[in-house]
């Protein structure tokens, strides 16, 4: 199995097999990242493609500071943020995409939700809430870092995060009520 250095070296020599190998090595994890930032799978594929184009074009600038996986991950997140900037102006910030609510989401407490259900919940969020929630809660960036990445203030990042959490609660509460009403109706 090729090391990261050997893989990079061959990719810089434009070896098609090395390029595919690099893609196959990192694509599953990066697609998982893209699915969290995108509103649907089509968008996730777009972000994935754009991210890997950036990776191949900027590979010559990789300075071997830290693991290659970390560099690839950061590049993909930057691509997702770029996607956020491009799409923000086309969407209303406060609009929840309730059409994506799936009836099969388990109505119990948060701890019983599966990963797929949590992914559906994230996708329901508006793009701004979704991006900041991903960056803070899952990637672990501070509000200061998020502010610098998105071009917003720290306070805006904090308030957006708070609204994202409230929106998640709202989604889960609505789903619980739907399920409860369904049980009451069936018991009659």
């Amino acid at each position: 199995m090729l090391t990261d250095n050997e893989l990079i070296n061959r990719c810089l020599l434009k070896d098609p097999r090395a390029q595919e190998l690099l893609y196959r090595r990192f694509a599953p994890k990066m697609y998982g990242v893209c699915l969290r930032y995108a509103g649907n799978e089509g968008e996730a594929e777009d972000i994935l493609q754009e991210g890997f184009i950036r990776i191949f074009n900027n590979l010559q600038h990789y300075r071997f500071e830290g693991a290659l996986a970390g560099w690839v991950h950061r590049t993909m997140i930057n691509t997702a943020i770029n996607h956020y900037h491009k799409n923000l102006k086309f969407r209303k910030e406060s609009e929840l995409n309730e059409n994506l609510l799936v009836a099969t989401i388990h109505p119990d407490a948060l701890s019983f939700l599966s990963r797929d259900e949590l992914l559906q919940v994230i996708r329901t969020l508006p793009i701004g809430y979704r991006t900041i929630f991903n960056l803070y809660a899952i990637e672990g960036y501070t509000h200061r870092e998020i502010g610098a990445m998105l071009g917003i203030s720290e306070n805006t990042s904090k308030s957006q995060l708070s609204r994202a959490r409230n929106a998640i609660r709202e989604i889960l509460t609505k789903q619980m009520k739907i399920e409860q009403n369904g049980r009451v109706s069936s018991n009659r």
Partner: protein, 190 residues
């Protein structure tokens, strides 16, 4: 990140290490965008690729090594016995010339016209009337000495070629082969 917020914690734990295989069409679309020219395996392409992939410290070390090698080879070249020394004294009458400049002109028969010379080196003449060309490569030369304008000898003596007793005569050629030469030059009077 807020480790204690239950929502944050739940999502973080759920997506830690999360992977999903993208559809194959994602790679098919990507490969059309990425430059996939056949790899060039010539020597310099590999050197450039290796240069890019090695850490900065390795690249700096390699550069310093190359520079040192160049310096060492240059020193060896300059100190090799391919070069000879031409030295001597310049005389103004019965006195040594006190201030002036000695010039070496190289004769190159490959350049037209065949009597063309070009200035090769110049050195100052010290207070004892002595000059020295330490590194002269093999070839044919003409030697000229010129008194400094501020020197008292410049009033009486003119710039003169080695062994040219009169303006009608050609100066004598100096042939440098494989040994040092000592040549004394006598300036002609005005």
């Amino acid at each position: 990140m807020d480790e204690y917020h239950p929502i944050d914690r739940k999502f973080r734990e759920a997506f830690d290490g999360f992977e999903q295989e993208p559809p194959e069409r994602a790679w098919n679309r990507l490969r059309n965008h990425v430059r996939l020219e056949p790899a060039e395996h010539d020597f310099w392409s590999k050197v450039i690729a290796l240069h890019r992939t090695h850490p900065r410290s390795v690249r700096i070390a390699a550069l310093v090594t190359v520079l040192l090698l160049i310096v060492v080879l240059t020193v060896i070249r300059l100190t090799s016995r391919d070069y000879q020394m031409i030295h001597g004294s310049a005389w103004a009458g019965e006195e040594r010339l006190c201030r002036g400049t000695a010039y070496l002109f190289k004769v190159d028969d490959k350049i037209l016209p065949y009597d063309t010379v070009r200035q090769y080196q110049s050195v100052p003449i010290n207070e004892k009337g002595q000059y020295c060309f330490p590194q002269v490569e093999p070839g044919r030369y003409l030697l000229q000495v010129s008194p400094d304008e501020t020197s008292a000898h410049s009033q009486t003596f003119i710039p003169s070629w080695f062994d040219q007793r009169s303006p009608k005569e050609s100066p004598k050629l100096i042939e440098v082969i494989d040994e040092d030469l000592m040549i004394n030059l006598i300036l002609r009077q005005r």
